[in-house]
């Protein structure tokens, strides 16, 4: 039997979203903040389950997700690029953010606050640090975890619930805490 094409249960998918067969997206807020203009802004492989995920992509954001991924109520904040492999599980209310959203220098933040304000119409925002997030195959990320910009999580790593990940994680490592520490290896 040929699997059904991918679908979003609550509406018509944006044109720049590609879903593999049998991938299901639920949640009416999935694309509430989906602003990317890239032709392949979001690409999800086959047999995925995206339950209550927020695909919050900036104008130039690109997210690719492999096959057999299972995310529950994940907040995906992407201004640049997030690449996720196959068989990745991300738990409830976890957050991934590939951007700082605002500049570090106070003077630049003043400019940014003005640009973002109701008075800032059309004013350009200062440059903001973004770095690609890469999550390799078979990674498990627990509920309430946070993955920040520039992080690469190696294949098969296990991220305990609530972990704050700010640095690369070696393949097969088990990590937890804030700041995150390696507490062992996946057996």
């Amino acid at each position: 039997m040929k699997p059904e094409p991918g679908k979003w249960l609550h509406g018509t998918l944006p044109e720049n979203v590609t879903l593999g067969p049998n991938t299901v997206i639920t949640g009416d807020l999935a694309f509430k903040r989906f602003h990317t203009r890239l032709p392949d802004g979001l690409r999800i492989g086959a047999h995925g389950t995206m339950d209550g995920v927020h695909f919050d992509l900036g104008e130039n954001g690109r997210v690719t997700i492999g096959d057999y991924c299972y995310f529950t109520n994940v907040v995906l904040l992407c201004e640049l690029e997030v690449r996720i492999g196959n068989y990745v599980v991300i738990g409830w209310n976890a957050t991934l953010a590939d951007s700082d959203f605002h500049p570090i220098a106070p003077a630049q933040r003043v400019a940014d606050a003005i640009a973002c304000s109701p008075l800032g119409k059309g004013r350009p925002r200062p440059p903001i640090a973004c770095k690609v997030i890469i999550i390799e195959d078979d990674v498990w990320i627990g509920p309430n975890a946070t993955i920040l910009k520039g992080v690469r999580i190696g294949a098969g790593a296990w991220i305990e619930p609530g972990t704050m990940v700010t640095r690369d994680v070696p393949p097969g490592a088990r990590i937890m805490g804030n700041p995150a520490e390696v507490i062992g290896e996946v057996s």
Partner: protein, 197 residues
């Protein structure tokens, strides 16, 4: 409650038959039971004056049960349960808290892959692998701060406080404040605090 529909509900659902609700308890929405699969009777039990609000999800497996004590207030917790989670009287559970007695998927990669392949074929897309579950006990008068996680097998003793965004990995003694990720003891409640009326 007649018909098991909540008159004030925004979600078009019903309370499962094996959810036992004290007449003075409050359930904000039946959406909380979207992932409820318990076959036990009762699968969830609300004590007198207990309440659950939007965001609370009973992700409760077929053999599992959850009990909310009298006046327990659950403001939006993800309850991931395959054995038993007990929430004591007067417990206060804040928003985005995770109470889990199981990790739901095998830690070994091969087992996790087969579970994800099975999940993708299910009508209700939820992980249901037979992995170890260890009951969680939140004793009476416990207060858990927002976005904290309580991991499998943990007991939080009577009257204790868990600071916001903590991750509780081991038992917490009674009348103790813990905080941090992983959670550590900050201090014990003073005798004055314990005995205050």
């Amino acid at each position: 409650m007649s018909g098991r529909k909540l008159p004030w509900d925004w979600y078009d659902g019903e309370l499962p038959q094996n959810v036992k609700i004290h007449e003075d308890a409050y359930v904000e929405t039946s959406f909380s039971f979207r992932f409820f699969r318990s076959e036990r009777s009762p699968g969830v039990e609300y004590g007198r004056g207990a309440s659950t609000y939007l965001g609370t999800m009973f992700d409760v497996g077929p053999q599992a049960r959850v009990k909310l004590g009298d006046f327990a207030l659950v403001h939006g917790a993800r309850i991931i349960c395959d054995s038993e989670i007990l929430i004591g009287d007067y417990a206060l559970i804040s928003w985005n808290v995770v109470l889990m007695d199981t990790y739901r998927v095998p830690t070994a990669v091969a087992g996790r892959r087969s579970e994800l392949e099975a999940l993708a074929q299910r009508e209700l897309r939820i992980a249901a692998a037979a992995v170890e579950a260890r009951p969680v006990r939140i004793e009476s008068k416990v207060w858990i701060g927002f976005e904290s996680c309580v991991l499998p097998g943990v007991t939080i003793g009577e009257g204790s406080i868990v600071g916001a965004r903590s991750v509780v990995t081991t038992d917490v003694p009674p009348f103790t404040i813990v905080a941090g990720n992983p959670a550590r003891i900050v201090r014990a409640l003073t005798t004055e605090e314990r005995d205050a009326e």
